[in-house]
């Protein structure tokens, strides 16, 4: 192992420890570790200024292929500007939708359509969480769903915790179904050149099948807890109407059209060849142009910290990739699986799931993409098999613990703020079995249909 590899590993491990301990804000951690990678790994150890330029990867943005793809696999390595621009664009679109009350309106409308009955709300909110998370980041989905669930729980007198837990799980599962649903999928998709259709026809299919099992599972384990309410007619009269959620009617119509257009662009991007970076920038531009005086308000709410976190992270992972560390990991997986493809798939799904249950799945996925590429190149296993295994493992594994995914954190946080703290025991008792169910389904599906 070279000095550059050792320095890259030290920086990566230090970054992970700092992210886990939360002593320093995570974007500062990744940016500083990224700067250290550029200086010490590429500058001091490798003395390769070209590697620094490749890692910063700004030249990618001026390449027409970056905006309109001809289907060639994207060059990986360095900062993945496609992921960052797409995330930024979707954040702006989502903030525009939130400003006009879209999410609150949708939640209230669904609750009204099922006549405010607890079990139908429970089922409907799980479905809504699953579907919305396919297109919108799971944090936003859960922030709105959990808040409405708590409000309805107070008025309709049911315990909100089982419903919030089910919503969190379904948001994570829905995120696994599409390329834009969960950050690991965006990273996998942009770096390996997949389309929205590739994801929906592979991980999407697994997610939909799993969702059917999960609906039954959550109904069986939670329906008794949710059936203990007794609601008076006065309670119903206190329920807010869906239309009261809309703060700006014109803005509401415009932002709904933008959202539908974004979904259409994403679903058809394999045909139109418009990249996710283009779609992200386009929806952001239209949202801002149509928001008028609300532009500063929307821009202020964009989560720049996460975008900076991604930027630094990609540089640190590039340090591992360019010094050959990730190839060593790929060889290690190859050796322990003894060339057995089934075992290799199982290792990727389950190790990714276990890792994602305890650490942030974004850096994990960013690290594993070059690993599976190397593994595919050396073993001859098709990259698709490994990519879908990685996507399902990282996306679903995060549901098992309260810290595994961002949706879990914001959902349990909202519950605790409303007086319903959820400890590890309470969380894992319901969510770990659900995670195992989906991982077993994913493993069987991939082994049965792809190998």
């Amino acid at each position: 192992m070279t000095a550059a590899s050792i320095v890259a590993i030290i920086i990566f491990v230090a970054m992970f420890i700092l992210i886990i301990t939360e002593k320093i804000e995570k974007q500062i951690t990744t940016l500083c570790c990224g700067a250290l990678t550029l200086i010490f790994v590429f500058g001091v150890c490798l003395r390769d200024l070209g590697a620094i330029w490749d890692t910063i990867n700004l030249s990618a943005i001026v390449n027409p292929e970056f905006w309109h793809s001809t289907g060639a696999e994207a060059e990986s390595g360095g900062i993945d500007w496609s992921t960052i621009l797409f995330l930024a664009g979707m954040m702006i679109m989502v903030e525009g939708m939130a400003r006009v009350g879209f999410f609150r309106w949708l939640c209230m409308l669904i609750a009204k359509l099922v006549h405010y009955k607890t079990i139908p709300i429970f089922i409907a909110f799980m479905c809504m969480s699953f579907v919305l998370a396919m297109f919108i980041d799971s944090i936003t989905v859960i922030l709105f769903l959990a808040s409405i669930t708590i409000e309805l729980a107070r008025l309709l007198k049911f315990p909100p915790v089982p419903m919030i837990l089910a919503e969190i799980f379904c948001a994570n599962l829905g995120g696994s179904a599409t390329m834009c649903g969960d950050p690991p999928n965006i990273i996998i998709g942009t770096q390996l050149g997949y389309t929205f259709t590739d994801f929906i026809t592979h991980t999407g299919l697994i997610a939909i099948i799993s969702f059917a099992f999960i609906l039954v599972y959550f109904y069986l384990v939670m329906h008794k807890e949710l059936s203990v309410n007794s609601v008076s007619p006065e309670d119903f009269s206190n329920l807010p109407s869906p239309s009261s959620a809309i703060t700006d009617k014109t803005g509401f119509i415009i932002n709904t059209i933008i959202f539908i257009a974004a979904v259409v662009l994403l679903v058809t991007h394999a045909t139109t060849h418009l990249t996710v970076a283009f779609i992200g920038v386009a929806v952001a531009a239209v949202t801002l142009i149509t928001s008028g005086k609300h532009i500063p308000e929307i821009l202020k709410k964009v989560d720049y910290k996460t975008l900076l976190f991604f930027t630094g992270l990609f540089v640190v992972v590039a340090g591992l990739e360019k010094t050959g560390v990730l190839e060593i990991i790929a060889k290690f997986i190859q050796n322990i699986s003894g060339g057995n493809i089934y075992l290799m798939v199982a290792i990727i799904i389950w190790i990714s799931a276990i890792a994602s249950a305890f650490i942030d799945n974004i850096p994990f996925a960013a690290t594993m993409v070059p690993v599976i590429k190397a593994l595919s190149a050396t073993t001859g296993v098709h990259i698709d098999v490994l990519a879908w295994s990685l996507a399902m493992g990282t996306d679903v594994g995060g549901s098992a613990t309260p810290i595994g995914a961002s949706a879990n954190v914001v959902g349990t946080s909202a519950a605790a703020k409303a007086g319903h703290p959820i400890g590890w025991g309470k969380y894992c008792k319901k969510m770990a079995p659900a995670t195992i169910i989906v991982l077993v389904i994913s493993t069987i599906f991939i082994c049965a249909f792809y190998l």
């Binding site: 946080s413 605790a416 409303a418 959820i422």
Partner: protein
């Protein structure tokens, strides 16, 4: 009492700080808040108070807690924040009260009528008190004291820049074992009266 008075009592376990705080509230004729605050909070939120007790005055557990976009999922941190907000609401309402622990000397530092006090005690006296109150052996009493003080210190130092028990963070630190509970209360009442201008400082 016309001016708002907020007495923040921090204490070592076994020092009698809780009893001193209660007696001070009786002497001064003002409200008393300790763990009972959670009952009021739970009542207002219409939730079971048992949900809160497990996490009261405990610091956020590192490694197994995460923060995303400013949302922490640590029940300990959220319960602490709920209590801090509740204390600020009480203070904003103009109410005078005695509050035990809950980082109150830091949370309410901007209120001019806030007097932060720290109560310590001699080791032997503290052990005897814990033995009597908890009906435990000496070794158990020592173990309980150490555990509670460690938890309180960790909780306090996580939320506040000043260190738990560091005299610079309080207006008065007093060893209750030297004067006994009654005289400690008397001395503190005198201090509070002079401090609040109810008695001429000269």
């Amino acid at each position: 009492m016309s001016k708002q008075l907020i007495i923040s009592i921090s204490r070592e376990y076994g020092s009698g700080g809780h009893e001193i705080a209660k007696r001070l509230s009786e002497s001064l004729g003002i409200s008393f808040y300790d763990r009972n605050m959670l009952d009021e909070i739970a009542n207002e939120m219409n939730v079971d108070v048992a949900n809160f007790h497990k996490y009261d005055e405990k610091r956020k557990k590192p490694i197994i807690s995460r923060t995303v976009r400013g949302h922490s999922n640590s029940p300990e941190e959220i319960i602490a924040d709920i209590q801090f907000d509740y204390l600020k609401k009480k203070a904003d309402s103009g109410e005078s009260f005695v509050i035990v622990g809950r980082c109150s000397e830091y949370v309410l530092r901007e209120y001019s009528g806030m007097i932060p006090i720290f109560i310590i005690g001699d080791e032997a006296e503290k052990i005897n008190r814990v033995k009597a109150v908890r009906n435990v052996s000496e070794s158990e009493a020592i173990s309980i004291m150490k555990r509670h003080d460690k938890t309180r210190k960790a909780y306090h130092n996580y939320h506040c820049p000043n260190k738990w028990g560091d005299s610079r963070g309080y207006e008065i630190s007093i060893n209750s074992s030297k004067l006994g509970i009654d005289h400690t209360v008397d001395l503190l009442v005198d201090f509070i009266n002079i401090r609040m201008g109810n008695v001429d400082k000269t």
